[in-house]
């Protein structure tokens, strides 16, 4: 097991820069998710860690050893692909045993290790099956088995559940996390699905346009987004942004939002007057006649335990998450009240969060 350190890693293809100078450390035994929209550089970063792609600049350290230009095979890392990449001309057992065969391990030992791995993944009964006959979930288990059998320093997974249908994906999410808890291997998991990242990861790196925007626990990333991008990308529906113009000073406990004063968590930095955005999660909005912001109900989306009510206000359309028992009439005018402790402020110009008492700590990538 190993710690992975990335230093100023950059990768460009011709004129396009895929990954731009990111630096971070993945601690030993961490389940680390890289989350972002397609084309944000997460897969490229992963492939550089694996050695399938060489960085243009920067360093990759495995347990302190610089492996930036080592061959993939020399890094002792396992890679799980989205399309499983099971060799079609081998059966399940041969597929799992393949990395050991590459290393030239004795046949008997290979058999034992394959058995042990299969037992762990509960696929012992499939060992002599053809891979083409397997279900998606079983294929992914075999791919995992092939990764585990070598007991590598780290697991790299590139959207391993992306090719599964929703039902299997949920099941495999649980299995993957369970497996990680048992073998405690450093795992780097690339996904564009925030639910996968939130439910499994210890740490999430949110990436955008080749940059790491924020690294933190799922709670940190959700509750204290470091930028408007992170706030918008994580959460469904995403955080609402209400634009206003104003300046803030360290120690302020309220901001002038258009013609009212809104209580916010204590501000910890000074900002000259500039376009700002008030960030509020849908679940931190209540309907109250005395609410500072007023608007007209545009629509409601019933989700079982809750409902998402969209309201047109003077500052844009706002989504609120209400108990499904609340009765809402489309077209009615209502007041919105925000949970003051959970409000966030962003500088629209830079897209970054303004530090407040609730946001202390988030790291900017």
């Amino acid at each position: 097991m190993a710690q992975i350190r990335i230093e100023n890693l950059r990768k460009s293809f011709d004129r396009f820069t895929a990954v731009e100078g990111s630096t971070f450390t993945i601690d030993d035994g961490t389940f680390f998710a890289m989350l972002g929209p397609s084309g944000c550089g997460k897969t490229t970063t992963l492939r550089m860690i694996a050695g399938l792609e060489l960085p243009t600049e920067g360093k990759i350290l495995l347990d302190g050893e610089d492996v930036t230009f080592h061959r993939a095979a020399a890094r002792d890392i396992a890679f799980v692909f989205q399309l499983f990449a099971l060799y079609p001309h081998m059966n399940v057992g041969e597929n799992i045993g393949f990395p050991l065969k590459c290393q030239g391990m004795a046949r008997r030992e290979i058999r034992e290790r394959v058995q042990e791995t299969a037992r762990m993944l509960r696929i012992e009964h499939l060992l002599s099956s053809k891979t083409s006959k397997l279900s998606g979930g079983d294929r992914q288990r075999v791919a995992l088995g092939r990764a585990m059998v070598r007991r590598p320093k780290a697991f790299l997974m590139d959207e391993p559940l992306g090719a599964l249908d929703a039902e299997f994906r949920h099941l495999m999410c649980g299995e993957l996390r369970d497996l990680h808890d048992r073998i405690k291997a450093t795992t780097v998991y690339v996904t564009h699905d925030q639910l996968e990242a939130m439910s499994m990861a210890d740490q999430i790196a949110v990436m955008n346009k080749g940059r790491v925007e924020q690294i933190g626990t799922p709670q940190e990333v959700y509750d204290r987004p470091a930028s408007m991008f992170v706030a918008d990308f994580i959460g469904s529906p995403p955080m609402n942004f209400l634009r206003f113009e104003g300046g803030v000073r360290s120690g302020d406990r309220a901001v002038s939002f258009h013609d009212t004063r809104l209580v916010v968590p204590e501000i910890r930095e000074d900002r000259a007057s500039a376009p700002l955005a008030l960030g509020v999660r849908p679940e931190h909005i209540r309907f109250a006649d005395a609410g500072a912001v007023r608007g007209e109900v545009f629509g409601a989306e019933y989700l079982g335990t809750t409902q998402i009510v969209t309201v047109d206000t003077a500052y844009g359309r706002v989504a609120a998450r209400l108990p499904s028992s609340a009765s809402v009439q489309i077209g009615e005018t209502i007041g919105l009240e925000f949970n003051a402790d959970r409000l966030a402020l962003f500088d629209i110009g830079s897209g970054l969060a303004i530090r407040t008492a609730s946001e202390e700590g988030p790291r900017h990538g």
Binding site: A73, F79, A85
Partner: protein, 320 residues
Amino acid sequence: MTAAATRSTAHSIVEASPRTKAFAGGLVILYAVITILPLLWIVATAFKSQSDAIAYPPKVIFEPTLEGYVNLFTVRTRQTPDFIAKLPPPETWYDQLVRKRDMVIAGPSKVVPRFVNSLIIGFGSTFLAVFLGTLAAYAFSRFRIPLADDLLFFILSTRMMPPVAVAIPIYLMYRQLNLTDTRLGMILLYTAVNVSLAVWLLKGFIDEIPREYEEAALVDGYTRLQALRKVVLPQAVTGIAATAIFCLIFSWNEYAFAVLLTSGEAQTMPPFIPFIIGEGGQDWPAVAAATTLFVVPIVMFTVLLRKHLLRGITFGAVRK
């Protein structure tokens, strides 16, 4: 009427109706007859006597003889009946056959060495073209190569010129290099022509193989070449087989360069066959016999690789 109506409503858009199937089958058989008939005629002609072969109207029923094959494999001289009568009795059936026509066998003809030349040059150049083509196609498919598209076009462009147009410069170059009328020269030439086809065909096949397979192998401990050999090649067998057949058919049948560049040592079958001369002109049964033998290896090779070839032609049409 109702039965007909039900049948027409049960008509499936995927499954052809029996009548359509019969029609399609008939077309295929007709086409097969049209293409196979000349071949059968050649096979039959090889067993005709010289006079039967040029008889008009053509003879479909005739007395079969092995004269054509004997003539193909031997060189004969005409002798007087007295001379033949003085000879010891014929040792073999073909001696006897020849003496009946007042001739004696003077020695073997050049057909065997020519056939061997064809085999060596045909299979040699096919192997080289497919080998080089596979490596080049893999590189084009997997690596970032500067100006890859231009290079691919350049490779294809070598095929755009008809052989006649480049024949003279090649002849002059070959003379300088002492490659005229050598097997090596012909192998190199056919390899050069075929390699462009091989690169293009195989690139298509290798593009279809997900690169994750070899990347998984790379991570698991293989070098690039090992991954190519043990992971990519087994999956590219279909494409390689199809490409090999196309390359072999070209180099086996090639005539223009062979006429120009070979005359003795390295002559292949195509320029040899038309010049099998018998008494009083072309020896048609011998030509037909040579043609029959000439077709055999290519038929065998194709039949052996048939399974791959069929899959190869339809490969990539359906996403698996």
